[in-house]
Structures are given as C-alpha cells and as structure tokens.
Amino acid sequence: MAEEIKLMKGNEAIAHAAIRYGTDGYFGYPITPQSEILETLMAETPWETTGMVVLQAESEVAAINMVYGGAGCGKRVMTSSSSPGISLKLEGISYLAGAELPALIVNVMRGGPGLGTIQPSQADYFQTVKGGGHGDYRLITLAPNSVQEMADFVALGFDLAFTYSNPAMILADGIIGQMMEKVVLPPFRPRKTEEEIRQESPWAALGKPASRKPNIITSLELDPSIMEENNNRFQAKYRRVEEREVRYEEICCSDAEYLLVAFGSSARICQKAVEIARAEGIKLGLLRPITLWPFPTKALAGYAGRVKGMLSVELNAGQMLEDVRLAVNGRVKVEHFGRLGGIVFTPDEILVAFKEKIYR
C-alpha cells in the first residue's frame, strides 16, 4: 500500500524517519527550535516497537559522547540540537571524525552568536563546513529545504556516514524545523542485527571473538608519523566524497542570465523571488546546494562564464558567499544578501537587493 500523505513539522518528520530507518539510538537534550525531535521520539515510544533507545542526556556534551560510544559499536546512532548546543558537541564531532565513526547529527539553526535568539538563522555554515571542531576534518553536510527532505535526509545522512565512516550532519534551521508541510514518510526498515553489524562494520567494538585481535576505537595517536598517515587517509577519503557525493538543484537555470545561490529555507524564499522576477521578464535562476560539503564547486564554476552575476542569499552575514566566490574564481561578480539575528527576509527584499547589487 502506498504510504499515506501526512502533515507535520520538519522536526517531527526527522523523528519519524529515524524510527523508520531502523536507528538504534537517539541521544539528545532539549533546545528550541528543535525540541519536537526528542518530544516526538518520546511520544512514539519506539523502544517498545523497534527497540530503539531514546535518551534525554544530562547535557549536549553527554549526548554526543553517547553517540561516540554507540557509533563505536557499529550502531546507527544520532543526536540533534540547535546552534549553541551544537557548539557544545563540537569536541565530540571532531573525535568522531578522528576515530572515523559514522553518526548522524542534526542542527536546527537559530540566531547567534552566544545564546542568541530562538528564531531561524543560517549562521552556522562556517561552523559546519569549515571545521567547527579542531583538526583537519570534514563533516558531510546535507541542507534540507522542505519537510520531505527532513524525512529523506535521515536515511541519506546515515547511508553516507556508513559508506565513508564519517559523521554526517543535517543542517536545517528554525523555519524548516517548525513549518508543517505534506510529507510521505519512508518505509519501515528493521534495525541491523548484531550479526549484520559484525559483517558490515568489522571494525565495530561489539565484543572480541577469539578469531581476531581487539578492535580499538580511538582518535589518539602519539606517533606523528602514524598520525600523518591517518590524516592522509582522511584526506583521500574526503577527496572521494568531493568526487562522488555533490548534490544540488537547479531551478530556472537553463536560460538564466543571473543566479541566486541559496540553501535550505533561504532557497525556498529565493524560489518565490525567482517566480516574481521571471514574471517581470528578468532571466533569474536559482542554484541550491543540497550538500554544503561537498560543495557544488564545479556546477557553479560552469555558470561563471554564462551568467552576468550571482547573489548569495543567506540568513547570515555572508558565509557560503566565500565558497561561491572561490568556485567562480573572480570570473563573475558575486555579492551577498542576508538578514541577521533571527530576522527572515521576504521574497521582495531579496529582489530589491538583487536589483541593487547585481542587476542594474
């Protein structure tokens, strides 16, 4: 039977999708605007059906370290938070990357810096794709722009995390988390059995049989020559991800003379701006990066010789802007428009900025 179309918030969709994916454990701590993830999981009581563990930890730091423990056993484990809470998790995220552990982290961004505001923002772009935690690591980053993608990216995020033995993040914001839309939830999948985990993740610390040496999960290596080898291995993996896993969407791009570049909720608002511009006869298109890392550098570079200007539209002071500029490498003018601190732009504001900065 076809799955029923439901109406729900983005946060609720993440929770339902996590249960249906066969997630083994969720460890979280409440913070607006993402608390519905934990609330929905608690209301659904998946520990009675799939056996999934849902735990409200004593803090964000505890939650990410529980994720580290679960991931070390080869389990499908996840956590979620919002900006200030993600800052607390960054040490653990760096450790996950250093130990090459797969895990899913959800950030439903709010305005900062500091405790900031609970209203939507996209100001954690740098934090997510440029490190955040210490060391030369990369975080696979998916930016959903609809409730449907909130649901779909749970499976995609976990699959990418396990394919590359690397943490993955769903980078959403208060708009996508709080809005309700139609969604078709993914089908139920059984949780992996211990036997399946032993086969698929032979590195997992699930108890040592006599037949092999102990599996050791660590990010610590005091011998710098081995640590350099480890880093070279990470970097080779990151290049493979950059080669294979770039995802983006092009809207009205085929005949575009100008491009908006936007991700997540901003891309939705830009889509309306494109509709209005097209009605005025302006050939405006929208390129929406779906993966923020790996970034659609080649796709943007391809437009550098074809369009007359680009506007990077973000709910921040100009972060993705830097990656757009690097991609086109000075061959076309790229400017930025944003609102800060939890204020969300309207489609009209975007068009006014586009006309001022790019289209004269």
């Binding site: 109406l7 607006t32 708009i175 709080q178 839309e181 939705r268 309207t346 489609p347 009209d348």
Partner: protein, 180 residues
C-alpha cells in the same frame, strides 16, 4: 487556485490550531499546503501568528511579502499586517479585539463578533472555529466536510467528542460574519 493567508492574534486564542485545521482541510482535498508559525515565548498573552498557504501547485516560499487574506484578532496584529493585505484582498477581524480604525479602502473588510458568540455559546474555546466559519463563508476555499475530516486528523482521539461543538461553532461563524 492559491490562497495566501495570515492569521494573527494573541497566544491562547487558537491562532496556530486554527491554521493547522485549515491546512489539514486543504490536505484532505489534495491541495499543496504550508503552515509556518511564529514560534517562541508567545503562548498566552504575547502575539502569535501563522502563515497558511493552500495551493493547487507546489508552494515555493512559506514566508510571504503580502497576503490574500488577513485574519486579525487583536490591535497589535492590525498594526502589523493591515498594510500587507494585497489590493483587492480580504481582512477579517473580531469585533471584540479590534475597535475599528481600519484605514485601507482597497480591500474587503469583514467583522465576525466571535468573542461575543463564544460567550453566548458558553464556550470560549469555540472562538477560533467561529472565525474559521466566517472565513469559509466569505471564501469557501475548502468544503465543510473536509474541515471536519481535518479536525479528526489534527485532534488527538480523546478530543474527538468535541468535533460536533466545533462544527456548530463553524456554522454559527458563517451566520454572524458581516461586511463592513
């Protein structure tokens, strides 16, 4: 067909749940819908608003510049949203929350005395359904059956016994709305 609607008032008036029921009703008719709330420390006393879009085509932005319909339930919301109704659009207000002072001449203005009617019905919780009834009388964007189905979907089962009261309130709202 596309209806872009803002519902704005005090927290606790049922603004968000009215929007939710409207969105569910659209869903029951196979429409594309989006429901975007103001969220935050706004329950009971602060201002709350929700943008609801019902459309035959996929919805691009859940955030809007202007609205086809504004449902205004208190004075601060009138100040904030009166200018954002599209020319030729509709503004519906509750006569208890708003004491006139509407300046726009290029839109259709309707009054529903929902607070008074809810008091008559001895059920202040009927307030938002009275307003919804008024809206559906003026713009029958979804059928009453769809609303009742939407109520069933959006209310937890333990509240299903309240559906007849909600239906009565919607019908009463349809009777008492009047053009200004």
């Amino acid at each position: 067909m596309k209806q872009e609607i803002i519902i704005a008032g005090f927290g606790g008036q049922g603004v968000l749940s009215m929007g939710k029921i409207l969105a569910y009703s659209g869903l029951m008719e196979g429409k594309e819908v989006s429901w975007m709330p103001s969220y935050g420390p706004e329950q009971r006393g602060g201002t709350a608003n929700v943008t609801v879009i019902l459309s035959d085509d996929p919805v691009s932005s859940p955030i809007l510049n202007t609205y086809d319909i504004a449902i205004i339930l208190n004075q601060p919301s009138l100040d904030k949203f009166e200018d954002k109704v599209k020319p030729g659009g509709i503004l519906i207000y509750d006569g208890y929350g708003i004491h006139g002072g509407i300046k726009r001449k290029d839109i259709d203005v309707y009054q529903v005395d929902a607070m008074d009617a809810a008091t008559e019905m001895k059920n202040e919780k009927a307030f938002n359904m009275l307003i919804l009834g008024g809206l559906l009388k003026v713009v029958p964007m979804v059928k009453l059956e769809s609303v009742l189905l939407g109520l069933k979907k959006s209310l937890p089962e333990r509240h299903h016994r309240l559906i007849p009261m909600n239906e009565a309130a919607i019908k009463r709202g349809m009777e008492i709305i009047r053009k200004r």
